[in-house]
């Protein structure tokens, strides 16, 4: 099966393919083959170890965008039961780039909201590749208010390159739709657990992207601007995205260091797509564990602590002025 190859893993994939070819040959007719295969296997393993041991920020961004990476739909079907999807913003339309649903996680009733990329081209076109229109954010806000009204915790899954920069999106108030999500989410009287599962692209991610806990997958990123656009601004050259990715401090590790994310879910070497099941299961148990703690907190305290959590973010110097 042809698999999607990220630029930085090409040498490894080439070796893996060569190994597979050798293995397909008739060993009996070629006496030296067994030894050669063994050598190659060792080399593949060594390369895999060094290549995936310490991915650069830009390499992680590529892993986070891998087309086979587990998506919101995969988490929804593996972790949640009795899913009732909520559609539409009650004002204009239904934006499939954001999914909202009533669902059950480990016997707990929750509202789940997530950016929704597609698997196939057809799905991706319908879902605008996971880049929401204002209607998506307004649907998300509707789901947040529903959760507040009925005392259900909110779980959000982040995976978007960003809010869609289209003409009609501007005319229908993209900025307003995002800002209203931020205001609502900041004061929601129920627990909010956020998981960065893939891309965390700027304001479009932030609209459903903060709460009482932020759990990041090892290769997920969260950034104020895409590395490509940053490179365009800094160097007038999108090819220098790797440098921008390093400068922007957008990895899960960076976010923990900056006091924005709480914990990191490890991924298998090469990324979650190489073995999705254990990653998805780990995300499920991390969400449940967070909700176990938060569910014991009364709503006034939750609101207060969420505010203080946001309040503490920012680094500056202060002198008597």
């Amino acid at each position: 099966m042809a698999r999607f190859v990220m630029e930085f893993e090409r040498p490894l994939v080439e070796l893996e393919e060569k190994l597979a070819e050798l293995k397909a040959l008739d060993v009996a007719s070629l006496p030296d083959l067994a030894a050669e295969i063994e050598d190659l296997e060792r080399e593949v393993e060594r390369l895999r170890d060094t290549l995936y041991a310490a991915l650069s920020p830009w390499e992680r961004v590529q892993v986070s965008r891998h087309p086979e990476r587990p998506k919101t739909d995969d988490y929804l079907s593996a972790l949640f039961t009795d899913v009732v999807e909520l559609k539409g913003d009650r004002a204009y339309g239904d934006d499939e780039a954001i999914m909202a649903a009533l669902a059950t996680l480990d016997g707990r009733r929750v509202v789940v909201i997530g950016h929704r990329k597609g698997r196939t081209t057809k799905e991706n076109v319908r879902r605008n590749f996971g880049s929401p229109h204002p209607e998506g954010f307004r649907k998300a806000r509707r789901a947040m208010l529903l959760a507040a009204k009925f005392g259900l915790p909110v779980v959000t899954l982040l995976d978007t390159a960003g809010a869609y920069p289209g003409l009609e999106d501007e005319e229908r108030g993209q900025a307003w739709a995002i800002a209203e999500c931020l205001a609502t989410l900041s004061d929601l009287p129920v627990p909010v657990v956020v998981v960065g599962i893939g891309e965390g692209g700027s304001g479009g991610a932030l609209a459903i992207g903060f709460g009482d806990r932020l759990i990041m997958l090892e290769n997920a990123y969260y950034s104020v601007i895409s590395p490509e656009m940053c490179a365009m601004i800094l160097y007038k050259d999108t090819a220098r995205a790797a440098e921008s990715a390093s400068a922007l401090a957008l990895t899960a590790d960076d976010l923990v260091r900056l006091g924005i994310a709480d914990e990191i879910v490890p991924e298998p070497p090469g990324g979650a797509h190489r073995d999705p099941a254990p990653v998805i299961a780990a995300v499920g148990s991390r969400i449940s564990a967070a909700l176990d703690v938060l569910s014991g907190t009364d709503s006034a305290r939750l609101q207060h602590e969420r505010y203080e959590r946001l309040r503490a973010i920012g680094v500056f110097d202060e002198s008597a002025g």
Binding site: P165, D169, A175, L182, G203, A247, Y307
Partner: protein, 297 residues
């Protein structure tokens, strides 16, 4: 800083040529209006609130002039003037961020892009702020986010109305995720003020974009914009590249925002103060003329 000193300092700045922005030019110079290409005497421009008498072009203003335009004379007292960027990511790709901030501080005399403080408007106590586009494009990093948040908190604590004149290129890229999170932080503070039933009026001026538009700027109870101001989330060039056709005339202009139902009105600079005072008169009916009591929540 005492109010009189602040006004004196503002006067001093007025006579120091630092950039092409109206409030920083001496009266005795001639300048070309970008709207109608006519040559104007700066003294005349300054006397007409920096609006071109021929074509109504609204020249860019510095933050202190934005505030002076709105508040009762002598009522403004700045707060949090000592907040400065700490360059938390040590951002040095292309041009070092610390260098950009230093250059902006030197050329503007400001500590960062936001100027905030207490004042009155027609006797109504307000917490007021203005963003200054000369300072790294009035982008929002930790300092702007903190000052705007404190402005809302001050309004809440002292039962003042919040008034902010917004111009911005968006979230400040060089502080990475710390900047993005200022969107949530300022939105949270605005939401608290709203829950307390205190009014917030924002005035969007040219240009207002990105993460600043998509947070505190549009969470106001009443939103006005200056004529011709461009306001949006994505910049026009990005939108054009995305849709691969040219943009309609007036796209993202204040006038088109009114048509699309996004703001309450386009207000001439000279009429802003009166309009804001009237709104506050309705929404802060009990507050006019009564001094605010600190700590009274």
């Amino acid at each position: 800083m005492p109010i009189n000193d602040w006004f004196k300092q503002r006067e001093r700045r007025r006579y120091t040529v630092t950039s092409g922005v109206s409030g920083s030019l001496p009266d005795g110079v001639w300048r070309t209006c970008p709207g109608c290409r006519k040559t104007l005497y700066q003294g005349d421009v300054a006397r007409s609130h920096s609006v071109c008498p021929h074509c109504d072009h609204h020249f860019e203003l510095i933050a202190s002039d934005r505030i002076a335009l709105l508040v009762d004379e002598g009522s403004f007292a700045e707060i949090d003037a000592g907040l400065t960027s700490a360059d938390p990511l040590r951002f040095s790709a292309a041009k070092p961020y610390a260098q950009s901030v230093r250059a902006a501080r030197e050329s503007t005399g400001l500590s960062d892009a936001a100027v905030t403080g207490r004042a009155t408007i027609d006797g109504v106590p307000v917490a007021i702020g203005a963003l200054d586009f000369r300072f790294v494009g009035a982008s929002m990093g930790s300092v702007v986010g903190e000052k705007v948040t404190r402005l809302f908190e001050l309004a809440l604590e002292e039962r003042r109305a919040a008034v902010i004149v917004v111009a911005s290129g968006g979230a400040r890229m060089q502080e990475g995720m710390l900047s993005l999170m200022q969107m949530a932080k300022t939105a949270a503070a605005a939401e608290r003020l709203a829950r307390a039933g205190l009014p917030y009026v924002s005035i969007l001026v040219n240009p207002t974009y990105g993460g600043v538009t998509a947070s505190f700027a549009v969470l106001a109870d009443v939103i006005f914009a200056e004529p011709g101001a461009l306001v949006g989330f994505a910049g026009p060039r990005l939108v054009e590249q995305t849709i691969r056709r040219s943009l309609p005339k007036g796209f993202q202009s204040a006038e088109s925002l009114v048509e699309h139902g996004m703001i309450d009105g386009v207000v001439q600079r000279g009429e802003l103060r009166g309009r804001v005072a009237t709104v506050l008169g309705y929404l802060m009916a009990d507050a006019a003329g009564t001094p605010a009591v600190a700590g009274d929540v």
